[in-house]
Amino acid sequence: MQVNCRLCGGENSIHPGQEMLFCSYCGSALAIEEDRGPERLILPHDRSDRHAEEALRSFLAARSLASPKDIRLEFAYVPYTMLEDDRGHLFGQPGKGVWPEAGPLTVPPAGSYRFFDEPLAGGEKVIPLDEDPETLALAARVLFLPLYRVRYRAAGKKYRALIMGESYYVFADVLPPERPAPFSAANIIAAASMAVAYLFIGQLGHSAAARILVIMASALIGWGAFTLKARIADRSD
């Protein structure tokens, strides 16, 4: 953003958060008028659909959820009006006309914000700010944040999510169902041989009830030993 020197009229550029500067022409100390309304800032972001897609896959994989298919992405800079709630915490309220999935934002991404300027969007879509003047007067700032809107299919159903650029944080209300751990042939062979072993152990009993008791006892002993071993291993980590 440009400011004019009060004394020589020279044009100086300032940065977000700056309150004072020295004129680059005449060197005089200048303070920036405090009452100039909310700053409009943008978080420039190099759009990367591949990274956004990976972020979504990673997000679902971390929660052991079904993997996404037919991922479709849209990208835009979305205006959030930063307001204070009753407890004095800042939150971002998406402007009107913004994607319906976008809800209030509690954690804007950390990054190098710049004063809003069309070229900083790099030719990407910018959703215009549409907010009442009264709300805007209360706002601390207006942030244009890079946001991916994602639609995907998982386990035969359609889902939606939003991904914040720069931090690649994923916002999703509805999540696909859980995905079981990968199929492991070794585990299944081990389990089958255990079943056979139990059958042999069962032969020690003379009656049906005794066989059942022997098998149950050995299973419980095995389970206990395994759990104990896992606990010890966890503690030594």
């Binding site: 400011v3 309150e19 020295f22 100390a29 954690v107 049906a208």
Partner: protein
Amino acid sequence: MTETLDKARAEAAAQDVPHEAPASAETFGVSCSACGGSLRVHEGERSIRCEYCGAALLVTRPRGVRGYILDPSISEGKARLAALKHLSEETGGRIKARHASIIDLRMINVPFWRMSGMMAGWMSGDEVIRYQIEVPVPGPEGTKMVKRTQEEKRPFSELTFKRIEWSTPACSLRDLGLQGISLRTQMLQWNVFEHEMQDRLNIALPLKTAAQAQSDGYSYMTTLAAPAGALVKASRFELFGNRLSIYYYPVYVLRYRHAGRIYSITIDGNNGSVIRGDVPTWRKITARSFFLVPAFAAILAGIWWPLLIIAAAATYIYDVAQSGTILPPVRWARERLERWFGGRL
């Protein structure tokens, strides 16, 4: 001046394309009140001496904030090494540098608000004291002594006078894992922060305003001053020599990919230690199913082997009833086995 500005803003808001930033902001000169000379005031400076007439001056406007920045003392390469070492150690050597592909490594200067000063004041309220007593309880075998905890409220009033120092991240850093850490400012070579540095460094903008930081700091101090377990009913505090400043601390963030997932490791740019490290973990098999399912199968087979088939059919019917759709038997068998025996031993 303000009137015309408001008008222009209202007009801009009424227009269809209001997202254009105001092209310029108004400024005012900072000059000596005694001789009128232009002063060299840095942001956040409160008291200065006029270089022309020598008058001691107190700066009332602008109320800027002093900023400090720390240069990273470890290089990017060192940060990368520290992150990979952490990765290898945390996974027990299973993942080494060649198994993880690094997506990016960035240095971010993270802002922290820091407040220091002398706090003086008083507070009053109730102090809750818990103590144990022995009470005689009559029973069938005579009277027994039983321990009981009793609570007592005692009114208290206290005068406090102490030096305080408080810091908080000025932006929310859930993605960096920097929540709840405080800043150590001692023994470090802090430089004065200039706004021009924003052009060449990746400096995170403080999203928490100075006023918010002040009020956060104030409420922190009140909780600190109260004795443990006390109920403060009334208090009044003053903070003397209150200085709020902003510190930009260097942090490296390394993101890497392993087996289709993205993880990130945050490295302290000053001492190279790992602040937070995200490493792959493997889902452990539940020992219960691993021991009890084969045992159950063995019991059924031992009694009468067709019971196994009956049990499998019963499980299938149960799963179909649960999901509400007819599952293809092969897919169902696979999913069942995965649920019981998937993961690492």
